[in-house]
């Protein structure tokens, strides 16, 4: 009982039956369709899945950068779904986001130091502008940007340094929780590794909690304590990082894991589970399991009934009629 309570208190962000539908020409597009997630304080929840499965939408909806169509979002146990604008603005200091291409979300006419100071100035984080710039300069050290770059413009910088600006901006209001939406996907592997190390160091130092969105499975395994696998707006499986890779249970997760080309020639003989067909449309989805049209284990019930998302082993959740 006490243990359970302790467990509860360690949950920082939680979603319950979270939904986001977009109205499009063909009908309702179910981008996120009833997702339950719990993210523990100081930990990283990885979100993986293929293009269009709803990863970015869920990240943005949790921060209410897009309004959910249904369900609940709780921060430290309190629902934030009905907070008004000013309360939400306060809330957002604690909840930040880092994008894949920070360039698309910043004003190209601002210099590096201005960009890093921007949120602090707007939010009157410190008494004077000078203090904000002072803090921004310190943040440059934290994220590994040489101070001589303070007055440079972002277009003059390479992708890795631009991403460091994005990280410094996200850190500037001293958040507790950061949604990282594909922060290293556009970077070369040697630069990607530098940024991953930085994010992990910052987490340790500041006790940050991350939701880390990516389609790269080796990156997600490396950085996450827990991983949620999404398919067409649904979370189909969630487990600790080690458990998911050791004992994947959902047919989609299994296929996904065997599809990774590994940098090891001993793995050439590895049996690849090739899933047939392509991802189907998220517009007005049919009843039943979303993965049914591509699934090798599909039975009659899968077309009829949506599988429940249930705990098959401690902390291991799967939504499939035939696993667990």
């Amino acid at each position: 009982m006490i243990l359970a309570e302790q467990e509860e208190s360690r949950i920082l962000v939680e979603t319950e039956n979270l939904k986001k539908y977009f109205k499009v020409a063909g009908g309702q597009l179910h981008a996120v369709d009833g997702v339950n997630l719990r993210i523990r304080r100081g930990k990283t929840l990885g979100i993986v899945g293929e293009s269009g499965c709803g990863k970015s939408t869920i990240g943005r909806t949790i921060l209410r950068l897009i309004e959910p169509s249904g369900g609940d979002i709780r921060y430290e146990g309190k629902s934030i779904i009905n907070l008004n604008n000013s309360a939400m603005r306060e809330m957002r200091k604690k909840m930040q986001i880092i994008f894949q291409d920070p360039y698309s979300s910043i004003n190209p006419r601002m210099s590096v130091i201005e960009l890093i100071a921007e949120f602090m100035i707007v939010n009157r984080q410190y008494a004077t502008k000078a203090q904000c710039f002072n803090k921004a300069a310190q943040l440059m050290d934290v994220v590994g940007l040489a101070r001589r770059l303070a007055n440079v413009y972002p277009h003059e910088l390479d992708g890795g340094r631009r991403q460091r600006i994005g990280i410094a901006r996200a850190l500037s209001l001293e958040p507790e929780f950061i949604v990282c939406d594909e922060p290293v996907s556009a970077l070369d592997v040697s630069i990607q590794a530098q940024i991953l190390n930085l994010l992990m160091d910052l987490q340790k130092e500041k006790g940050l909690t991350y939701m880390f969105i990516t389609h790269n499975l080796s990156v997600v395994k490396h950085i996450s304590s827990e991983i949620a696998v999404m398919y067409l707006g649904k979370c189909v499986e969630k487990a600790t990082s080690a458990q998911l890779f050791e004992e994947p249970k959902h047919p989609y997760t299994k296929a996904l894991l065997t599809a990774i080309p590994e940098p090891d020639i001993a793995m050439r003989k590895k049996e690849i589970i090739v899933i047939k067909g392509e991802v189907t449309s998220p517009i007005n989805p049919k009843p039943g399991c979303r993965f049914a049209p591509r699934c090798d284990y599909c039975q009659e019930i899968c077309w009829r009934e949506e599988p429940a998302y249930k705990e098959v082993k401690e902390q291991h959740f799967v939504a499939c009629h035939f696993s667990g």
Binding site: V189, I191, Q192, H215, T258, P261, P263, V279
Partner: protein
């Protein structure tokens, strides 16, 4: 006896603009045998695409220059060929697949028409319309697309399907050499697996020689017989897949690449990335291109350009191995 189909000798390529000269490819040499697959792996700006475009003689006119080098395809130097001779070789004997399938597809023609056109264009002998139509159906089926979708336009296909059509078109003419420049980079991993498997099967069946350009060491490990690692326009290490993935001695850059990718099997607390950034391609320094980032740099590295150290098939361009590579693994075998 396997025959050499392509041999590149000491190739240099530069891009010249009013303001500066980009030294994109700086003296690379490699050889590809019939039926073999060579992987060229490297990070952004390493010169991979430039190398591929040189082989096809498709470098942008006016801005690009080849001051030095020879490229022999089936014994003929491509750099000395006339445009009309080249046109016959492109597509018919050498085909290329680009990262973005729309580079090779016409948005206002149906998929079937485009395959048909590719077949007609590269066929010397005349064929009956009905026979060609049948061939189009076969080509589509071969890459796992239902033949009745040939009346669709490219935009009605997903990214993976478009890329499969492009591969189908490239292979329809049964080229002797296929150059694939990051063919799956834009695709999701399950679709990538489908496409790679397809490329592999078709290659094995048609015995096509292939150059696979990628930044993904995983793709190299899974598809290539030989590997060349490219950095700043040079091949800094090359050899068989075993040399690159199993040998103990490597170029410090290759080691850095491997240290940067998180392993799926072994848990590592921290990655071991390479510090710093790629050198500016408009500058030419006398020493090793990797010296500014190299954790094992020595005084000589900054002043003198390293030669290849060679052990059988394995080559490493680094001063650390000036006395030879002597891989302990191979030493043991010898004893």
């Amino acid at each position: 006896m396997t025959e050499t189909i392509l041999e590149v000798k000491d190739l240099e390529v530069q891009y010249k603009t009013e303001l500066e000269t980009v030294y994109a490819v700086n003296g690379i040499s490699f050889r590809l045998n019939e039926g073999e697959t060579l992987g060229i792996v490297g990070e952004t700006g390493a010169g991979k695409t430039t190398t591929a475009l040189s082989v096809l003689r498709l470098l942008p006119e006016r801005v690009s220059f080849i001051p030095k080098g020879e490229i022999y395809f089936q014994g003929q130097n491509l750099l000395e060929m006339k445009e009309n001779e080249l046109r016959k070789i492109r597509g018919e004997k050498i085909a290329m697949i680009f990262q973005d399938p729309m580079t090779s597809l016409n948005p206002v023609m149906t998929v079937g028409e485009q395959i048909l056109e590719a077949l007609i264009f590269h066929r010397a002998e005349k064929a009956e319309k009905a026979e060609l139509e049948k061939r189009v159906d076969e080509v589509l089926t071969m890459v796992g697309i239902a033949a009745d979708r040939k009346a669709d336009y490219p935009h009605q296909f997903s990214g993976g399907m478009k890329q499969r059509v492009v591969i189908a078109m490239a292979l329809a003419c049964e080229p002797e050499l296929l150059i694939a420049d990051e063919p799956t980079t834009a695709l999701d991993v399950t679709i990538q697996a489908q496409v790679l498997l397809m490329i592999r099967n078709l290659r094995d069946r048609l015995k096509t020689a292939m150059i696979m350009i990628t930044h993904d060491l995983g793709i190299v490990a899974q598809t290539c017989d030989n590997v060349a690692v490219m950095y700043a326009g040079e091949l800094i290490e090359s050899g068989t897949a075993e040399d690159i993935f199993c040998a103990e001695k490597h170029h410090p850059y290759t080691e850095g690449l491997f240290g940067s990718i998180p392993s799926l099997r072994v848990y590592t607390e921290r990655l071991n990335p390479i510090a710093g950034l790629m050198p500016d391609p408009t500058e030419r320094n006398p020493g090793c291109k990797f010296a500014p980032r190299c954790p094992k740099v020595m005084a000589i590295c900054r002043s003198s350009h390293p030669e290849d150290a060679v052990e059988n098939t394995h080559r490493i361009k680094c001063h650390l191995y000036s006395d030879g590579i002597t891989d302990p693994r191979k030493e043991e075998e010898r004893l």
